[in-house]
Symmetry: C2
Subunit: 456 residues, 2 copies
């Protein structure tokens, strides 16, 4: 039976199982979801074993990694390692969800839930692809290993810890990272690069107690003012990051690679999707150049003082910010982290202490191996399934672990996925298309068939 | 019996009653405390009636005002209107209180509770003064009216609404506002001026949904960046407010008034009290000049994006700030409010909408009538009770209603109180001294005796 016919014959069961996967509130960053993480992992382990894989749980100091392998294709056949993650972002703000984040609901062909796309949707169609191949052929044409971690959304510390010890088991010819996007539901694409990331906590302290803004306003330096003044110095009027040395180590893409990239930006489409204008980058670069090929500093959270519906005339003792940098090839997360922290601390006005902590879990940028057999096979698979030539894009996002995972496993990398900008990942009302769940399964299954054919 | 002997003879009962008053969580700014507000008001009304006053509850669109009067001193005797409030600030952050904010506790001679000083403590010693006078003389030497409102901490809207309708009842020769401070527990002081206030909500909007800071960082303008950049433009490197026209209308104090003010600032004492340095004002002015005689813009709250213990790589759709200006004589709250709002909105970068709302409840600065019989009587009373000459200070705080209340009642104003900077008002662990509760009662009782003597 053809792959698509097979998929259609079991679609109801596939959707039922997917909704079960989505019901686990597997939020990795908040301790209160610990039990949900374990329940999700155990369900997933059982599901992968049912497909025909051998599984192992790799404990870590944080959330465990699910490793699975099927290597009956033999030593002559190549080995493909596929990376996904079973953890999701926190669901807040809860009040903005039309339906609750962990009660998945299908509306107008879209499945709404936290993780529906990132990354449970993309993980789940990989599993369906493997099921389809077993159903069609009774076997797989290549050896396949799965590495499904539980801390992608909070820094991949656990996987990073065990990489060295698991080096042998992770060895592979190819690594497919299935956590990326396409630019429209009808246009297939492979991703040539991901940005790196380093994240920070900043605390500004002015006093040991909260103070009354009448009695103390004009005497003490308000840490909220210090915070905005210091953070306002991160970028200049041209959108450039002002931190000395920030751009020094960038290794630009080759022109031949840049030329492959589909960088046409549609301002109206962007506005329709998210209500924003493309005014945020360095002025000398186009939106996709800024997002794909240039590093950033972004504030991800500000807090301090009173934030209720009323008013409180307070000068708080402390104010806080959360920051992140996206990095491009050549930029070392540790080095940039120290540059940013030192710069911000040095801007503290007299009377205010600014303390910046570099959070663990950063990682460098990484790139797909552009001309590998894996990339060629998946580009062809995408073109067949979508009936449309595959384009090449990059991503402004980060999967900090990938660069280390590629090195440990000795693999050529492919970054792929069927996400859309409009999926609202990391935001309320995250969703993934029922159609893309199917297309994802078909692309991965067909890509594995083609990769097998290359080597046979 | 002498006033002090009388006080001592009933001190346990006084403290018991005070703790009862403090147990009401009469937070006016948050709707969930509505019932506590009413319970507090009814208890207070009963308490004032027991002293011998006739009472009225004045309903408003917000929290009611308690009005009370005793006018048996006759038409020839002067009338003193005393202003206090029974509402308190929100208690957050709750986790920083050593004992819960509405379970008053006495430790080392200090009474800890939200409102212990501001203003329940200062209100309660006024009531004890009246009880002492009735106990000592069986009557009062002057007519006394009490205006105890329930919205001082959230803008005095209700009292403002009814002022005109109650003009006749509020008529008085003198108005004593008992909500102010002294600079040390042993140094009596009267307050010559209060700053005015106008408060704002600011909302910066960048998109209609929260966005992923990887995919969108470098494309859209992050409203958190817009917020810090715009707010950083409020003040220059000299600490001056940069808003055009902000300082234009200031009417300085006369030199003879400035010369009366005890403006010596003790940096070490300030640091010991609150852990802050006096680096926050305009550089050309001393700390007390800045706090008493100069206007400010302060940020009182920042919020937006992720503020949990983990991390979320989000570019939020919106970011928020709460701001206030303290005003000095000559500055009109409406005019300054519009200047500030227009300035901030005009700073919005392309792609970001900044909307500033002027909150209701602002009010102009006000000043004591320096040479009135009331001021003289209370300066003498203070000197007698503390055995120390009374000094003159000003306050950076605001009681926006006072200027309107003074005008409506036709009174000469005196601003007084026994608060201390170290009382932690508006902050966790607010407290008031058992000794100051007594001294406050003695000062007010003696001040009323002396004022009566002036007119007899």
């Amino acid at each position: 039976m053809a792959l698509q016919t097979l998929y259609h014959s079991r679609e109801q069961e596939i959707l039922d199982d997917f909704l079960t996967f989505l019901r686990f509130a597997s939020v990795s960053s908040e301790p209160e979801y610990g039990l949900e993480m374990i329940n999700c992992l155990e369900w997933l382990q059982h599901y992968v074993e049912e497909i025909g894989f051998t599984t192992e749980i790799w404990p870590t100091s944080g959330h465990p990694v699910l490793f699975a392998n099927w290597e009956d294709a033999g030593r002559a056949a190549p080995t493909l390692l596929i990376y996904n993650h079973y953890d999701v972002q926190p669901p807040e703000p809860l009040e903005e969800w039309v339906t609750p984040p962990f009660e998945p609901t299908i509306r107008n062909g879209q499945i709404y839930a936290r993780g529906a796309q990132d990354n449970k949707g993309q993980c789940f169609y990989v599993l369906q692809a493997l099921k389809l191949l077993f159903a069609k052929h009774g076997t797989l044409p290549i050896n396949v290993k799965l590495c499904i971690e539980g801390e992608e959304e909070c820094g991949s510390h656990g996987l990073m810890e065990v990489l060295n010890a698991k080096r042998q088991q992770l060895q592979a010819d190819y690594l497919a990272v299935v956590d990326l996007d396409i630019k429209s539901p009808t246009q297939p694409a492979l991703t040539l690069g991901l940005r790196g990331i380093v994240t920070f906590d900043l605390e500004a302290t002015g006093s040991k107690i909260d103070l009354h803004s009448g009695y103390h306003g004009g005497i003490t330096y308000n840490p909220l003012h210090a915070l905005v003044e210091v953070l306002a110095k991160l970028r200049d009027n041209e959108g450039k990051v002002t931190i000395p040395g920030f751009y020094d180590d960038i290794v630009p893409l080759k022109k031949s690679e840049v030329d492959k990239l589909a960088m046409t930006f549609d301002p109206q489409g962007y506005f329709d999707m998210c209500g924003a204008h493309a005014t945020g980058g360095e002025k000398e670069f186009s939106p996709y150049e800024s997002s794909w090929l240039r590093p950033t500093v972004e504030i991800n959270g500000l807090s301090g003082g009173y934030a209720g519906s009323g008013f409180k005339t307070v000068i708080p003792a402390k104010a806080h910010a959360k920051l992140s940098c996206r990095l491009v090839a050549g930029q070392d997360p540790d080095k940039i982290g120290k540059l940013v922290a030192a710069y911000l601390e040095a801007q503290a006005p007299e009377g205010i202490d600014i303390a910046v902590t570099i959070r663990p879990g950063g990682g460098p940028a990484c790139r797909s191996t552009v001309d590998s057999p894996l990339t060629t096979a998946f580009a062809t698979a995408f073109a067949e399934v979508f009936n449309q030539p595959c384009e090449y894009i990059a991503s402004g996002g980060s999967i900090p672990i990938i660069s280390a995972l590629a090195e440990t496993s000795g693999s050529q990398v492919l970054l792929m996925g069927l996400g859309l900008d409009s999926d609202h990942i990391h935001a309320p009302n995250e969703h993934f298309g029922v159609d893309r769940l199917e297309k994802g399964a078909l692309v991965v299954a067909r890509g594995i068939e083609l990769l097998g054919a290359t080597h046979s």
